[in-house]
């Protein structure tokens, strides 16, 4: 990213344990796009967490007089078919949409890292695990998602479970590729020569080095999960409609889109902004740890 990667003034030479992290974060946020993305995400999370604590406004409040009312100064995103405040519902919906994204990313990364490390480190496990991963990735994401939800039954946790199953193979593939490289490095040989047990090698020597590719996957899967949840809701196999996610908001107001486009526009913008910020942040993290770019800066 050219000139914008020029690092901020060097941190003081004192070797405090936190100093490396501060330096890393400074380099990450030196790119304005990445900083902006982080701020958008911070704001979204803060609104979702703190607004309901500070305000007594109820997102379920119906005001029939305000039915399908266009955006105004009081109601920034207008009102929906039941006269509910769309903006307020987006803030409350963020709790569920972010929760789905977070737990999907967490589950897929934990399972995928485990599978990927096993496949990458133990030659004998490589072929069976990876053929299973290939087979699972032969199903289009959304198709596997709807099939799984229809089998598990539509509920909040089943949607998360289905999405974890959909995205785990993706993480496994990335982690396996990195593990294959790490396995051959000198410090692993050294640890082996010193008689370190295999689980310890995986835990102390391989896993920490997988941090950056895994972190990138977290942000991307977080974004994909929010998008997929909305898609599943639209197809009628998502979270039950009474749970206000951004996806169920769009789906619920679909038939009023002709009269009141803001009812579907506003939650969609919330999805796009969040997903974009997550992916830009992930991209920033990837560049940060990319050795090719490091040499140049």
């Amino acid at each position: 990213m050219g000139a914008s990667t020029s690092t901020a003034p060097a941190a003081p030479a004192v070797r405090k344990p936190g100093a490396r992290w501060v330096k890393t974060l400074r380099r990450l946020f030196a790119r304005r796009v990445v900083l902006a993305s982080a701020l958008v995400l911070l704001l979204t999370v803060a609104a979702a967490v703190f607004y309901p604590m500070l305000s007594s406004a109820d997102p379920g409040d119906m005001n029939i007089a305000m039915r399908l009312h266009a955006p105004s100064w009081t109601y920034w995103a207008g009102n929906d078919e039941l006269g509910r405040d769309v903006m307020l519902r987006i803030i409350y919906g963020a709790r569920y949409s972010l929760m789905i994204g977070f737990f999907t990313a967490l589950g897929a990364v934990v399972l995928g890292t485990l599978l990927g490390m096993l496949a990458g480190y133990f030659r004998r496990l490589d072929a069976p695990v990876m053929r299973l991963v290939d087979a699972m990735m032969a199903f289009p994401d959304i198709l596997l998602g709807i099939a799984l939800v229809s089998i598990l039954g539509a509920s909040l946790w089943n949607v998360i479970l289905a999405l974890v199953i959909v995205y785990t193979p993706r993480v496994a593939r990335v982690v396996r590729a990195s593990t294959l490289v790490l396995r051959e490095l000198l410090f692993v040989d050294a640890a082996k020569a010193l008689g370190v047990r295999t689980p310890m090698i995986l835990w102390r020597h391989i896993l920490p080095n997988l941090l950056s590719p895994v972190l990138v996957q977290v942000t991307f899967i977080f974004a994909y999960a929010i998008l997929a949840e909305a898609g599943l809701s639209f197809l009628g196999v998502g979270v039950p409609p009474e749970i206000p996610t951004w996806g169920t908001m769009i789906t619920g107001s679909l038939q009023y889109a002709d009269q009141a486009f803001w009812t579907i526009l506003a939650p969609g913008i919330a999805i796009v902004l969040t997903a974009l910020s997550l992916q830009l942040l992930g991209d920033g993290v990837r560049d940060l740890f990319d050795p090719k770019l490091k040499q140049k800066s």
Binding site: A135, I146, A147, S150, G153, A223, G231, G236, I264, A275
Partner: protein, 316 residues
């Protein structure tokens, strides 16, 4: 070459076999007895037991699987519970809109992705590069169904340029169908161009660093000739690869888009099957789509080896 070919074919066959096991298990794990569903509420316990024997559901799971695979290999994907026709026939009826939509979308994705990706690589690190990268990421952040709904609102409802849904009459001329497919193809093509952009950019960047590009420049060829003759031509193989991958991904993308635009394709079929728990249709569609994906990947691999002999050698 033969060794390589056999190795790839064997790998694809193995993946297909695992796909078959997964599809089989997936629908067998489903809650609710498919027989009870098939016979309806009126069926007695004895009826259900008789039907279970008739469908072989009283056999052990392994036997059931072997029987099912035998049927599939003979081209029998089973009978739809709701459509009163074989699954294969239902799929064949719905194949045309999906195939056209997927191809049309790939064409749009290529039309956007290849030039943008090349430009981003050539002017690497510039404002244009950053803009293209960010816009590509934006494309990957927009829910396709929502983008479709917005386009319908703007171009179909307000401007009236395109029909909002459907595929025209069965006998309608091709032009009419293209008009019905244009909006959905734009949705899929634009949103999936991100992948093409990223891939084109990366492969063009690789080639720009090659010695023969430096040689071409050194002997005084104009930048345009270098780009078209030396860079683009060598980047074509990875670009064709990513277009193939995009085509495979599109088939999944059509599931949502066909529902938004109410196109009578395979995606629409499977979504309805899911809502009605028509398991034979779900099973058949999953199997066929996954098989298409595996075949496209295999074809890409083989194409690669034909075009680029270096890969053949590495495969040994």
């Amino acid at each position: 070459m033969l060794y390589f070919l056999l190795k790839r074919l064997g790998g694809a066959a193995l993946v297909l076999a695992i796909v078959a096991v997964l599809v089989f298990l997936l629908t067998r794990l489903a809650s609710g007895d498919p027989v009870a569903l098939l016979l309806g509420d009126q069926a007695t316990a004895a009826d259900i037991a008789a039907a279970r024997v008739q469908y072989g559901l009283d056999q052990p799971l392994i036997t059931q699987f072997v029987l099912w695979v035998g049927q599939v290999l003979r081209g029998n994907l089973g009978q739809s519970i709701f459509l009163q026709m074989p699954v294969l026939q239902a799929l064949a009826h719905r194949a045309e809109p999906t195939a056209f939509l997927a191809l049309f979308s790939v064409a749009i994705a290529a039309g956007i992705g290849v030039p943008c990706g090349m430009a981003a690589a050539v002017w690497r690190g510039s404002r244009a590069d950053q803009l293209v990268s960010t816009v590509a990421m934006l494309g990957a952040s927009i829910p396709s169904f929502w983008f479709g709904l917005i386009l319908i609102q703007v171009f179909a409802v307000h401007l009236g340029w395109f029909p909002a849904s459907g595929y025209g009459d069965p006998g309608a001329p091709l032009g009419d169908r293209v008009q019905h497919l244009l909006l959905p193809a734009i949705v899929l093509g634009v949103l999936n161009s991100a992948l093409v952009i990223r891939f084109t950019r990366a492969s063009v960047l690789d080639i720009l660093g090659e010695d023969y590009v430096r040689t071409a420049r050194a002997k005084g060829l104009s930048e345009g000739v270098v780009l078209m003759k030396h860079v683009l031509r060598n980047a074509l193989v990875p670009i064709v690869t990513v277009l193939g991958l995009t085509l495979a991904l599109m088939i999944g993308g059509t599931v949502v888009t066909e529902t938004v635009f109410n196109l009578p394709g395979v995606g629409n079929l499977v979504v309805r099957a899911v809502l009605r728990r028509d398991y034979p249709v779900i099973q058949g569609t999953l199997l066929v789509i996954a098989a298409i994906y595996v075949f496209i990947n295999l074809a890409i691999d083989l194409l690669y080896t034909v075009v680029d002999p270096r890969i053949r050698l590495e495969g040994r």
